[in-house]
Amino acid sequence: MGIKIVSRQLSGEYEKVLRREQRSFMTGNEVVAWAALAAGADLMYGYPITPQNEIMHYWARLTPHFGRGFLQTEDEMSAGFAMPGGALVGKKTFSATAGPGNILMQEPIAMAEMMRIPGVWIIQQRGGPSTATVIYSQQELRLTATGGNGEGLRIVYSTASHQELFEYTIKAFNSAWRYRFPTFVLGDGYQAKMREAVTLFRPENRGWELVPAEPILCLPGVPARDRDPVHLRNTFNLEEELYTRLMDQLAVYERIAPEVTEWEAEVPPEPEVLLVAHGIVARAARQAKESLNRQGWKVGYFRPVTVRPFPGQALRQIAAASPNLRLLVVESAYGQLLAMVKAELYGLTNPVDSLLKPGVGITAEEIAAAVDQTEEGEAVS
């Protein structure tokens, strides 16, 4: 399915930006709006919160020209619950939020998770807890990956550049509608507000197939005459009913996890240190790695792209191959990624160090300095 151009007014812009694959210079929020357009999103339901506001602004500006929809709801719960409403009747719906809004979103996300209703959420992390800052953090990792009162059957892509914001937003729509688990693009305030280069494109031009949205409710025909009525619920009378349902869902999730999981790894022979970071911090980690390599350090780099499902096996293999390899986990949060890493390495003896700076950015220089400290890290087991 392509983009239906309703008005000619913006179609010129569209031709230029998407079809000609022109390199553009813009903010991450703007990139997300274009990506949603390219991914064939039909409707955005949203509630204002910094630093994601401009996604709504750009989307609201684009929609009338492309026959898409936007509604500003009374709060994040309303936006989150309107999403499955639209998805159930066959439309691609999405929202964007951050911080306290991400907390309120957890309720509808839990329902989508239970009922396997597709939806895409863009999370532009801000400082926490509470209102904290509107600027930046990586403190919403745990909430986004495993929030809610369930098992965290979600797909979460943590992006590190505008190009990735664009590509993974499109991918998120595909994953959401292919696998029917709530799907997230985990960005942050820096990615939201900064400007850098990006090449926007029509996914179809790259041979990317867009997964169509199929209605789950309100299919053609008179219910009970032409077809059975569809009755969906998230409430069960018996423990056993829930257990059976959940075990089925977990089996599906575990089956699809290997094809969903993505990571980046660069490991030199006989590595001494492995930098582990996700999202925007991974950029600094990679730079630190390169500069340390030039100084003769045998430093590797590992970046989970999907933080849920987590590429644990890949990480574990690297660590297990070099028992003396020291890991340095770097994040703008106080141990959220670290906990995931340690869980995956359980039983191995690799020392694990960390550079944890909740709510502030981390530079390549700081990471390089942390590697330089010769102290032994603590072992995981």
């Binding site: 039909d42 409707l43 339901y45 929809g69 509604l71 709801t73 009374e74 709060d75 719960m77 309303s78 936006a79 989150g80 619950f81 309107a82 999403m83 499955p84 409403g85 639209g86 159930l88 009747v89 066959g90 439309k91 719906t93 309720e107 509808p108 329902m111 409710l217 309100c218 025909g221 008179v222 219910p223 009970a224 009525p229 569809v230 009755h231 969906l232 619920r233 998230n234 409430t235």
Partner: protein
């Protein structure tokens, strides 16, 4: 029934003919004997039959005893979260305007935890039909005070009776919605005690959506003998005698009566 209890089987009161849009496989239904939800939903089923819209209805039910209707009808259903049925139906209606969206909820769902959704959907003139069963308390959780509990009424959380000074007076939902909804809205309060009038109001509420009028809202005075701890006679007396002292039955906004002009 209360959360965790086994379903209690019962016959539908009054007319024993089942509406076409009722799903026979799931009858008898799961409400307690004498529960008003069953009557309200029977009226809704008959109205859907009469309007011939079975193929276009999307029905959403809340958490509360309304959830027991998740497989009640022959139309498609989404059972949502406590208080969140309005946004789900709004989301679907905005996505597919040709559908007829019905959000069915209790007084706790509509006036307490989900009040912001009712108020804002009404104020935006969302083209959906919201139906709210007012049984003066939180039934499914075992009978606690709701915004609609009558002064002096005993509930699990007002064991000595609701005191105005501490917890206010009963919430007047249709009056509130009528005051804020834009032109084209339909707002009424019906009662399971007046079946034909209840049907008439539900029909008008659906017709208003079908003709693109605007937001439609019907509060239905309902019964909960289980949590009221009343027998058949006492239940009827409370519904017909006590509740109308605070809750005026009638239409508050119709297509012909512009905002501000109440009908009776």
């Amino acid at each position: 029934m209360t959360e965790g209890q086994k379903p209690v089987l019962q016959e539908t009161p009054g007319n024993t003919k089942l509406p076409l849009s009722w799903r026979k496989e799931t009858k008898p239904h799961r409400f307690c004997p004498g529960c008003g939800h069953g009557i309200a939903l029977k009226a809704l089923g008959e109205v859907v039959d009469e309007l011939g819209i079975l193929d276009r209805v999307l029905y959403g039910c809340d958490i509360g005893c309304s959830l027991l209707s998740w497989d009640f009808f022959n139309f498609d259903n989404i059972q949502t979260h406590h208080g969140r049925t309005i946004p789900v139906i709004v989301g679907a209606k905005r996505a597919r305007p040709e559908l007829i969206g019905i959000a069915y909820m209790g007084d706790g769902g509509g006036y307490a935890i989900g009040a912001q959704h009712l108020v804002n959907a009404a104020q935006r003139g969302e083209k959906i039909t919201a139906i709210l069963a007012n049984n003066t308390l939180y039934a499914m959780t075992g009978g606690q005070m709701a915004p609609t509990t009558l002064p002096g009424q005993k509930t699990g959380t007002t064991p000595y009776g609701r005191e105005e000074a501490k917890t206010g007076l009963p919430m007047l939902g249709p009056e509130l919605v009528a005051a804020i909804a834009p032109e084209g809205s339909y707002v009424a309060r019906a009662t399971v005690g007046e079946y034909q009038q209840l049907k008439k109001y539900l029909q008008k509420a659906l017709l208003n959506q079908m003709t693109g009028g605007g937001f439609s809202f019907v509060e239905v005075l309902s019964t909960c003998p289980t949590n009221w701890r009343t027998n058949a006679k006492q239940t009827w007396a409370f519904l017909q005698g006590e509740m109308p002292r605070y809750y005026k039955v009638g239409e508050f906004r119709t297509a012909d009566a512009p905002p501000g002009e109440e009908e009776g």
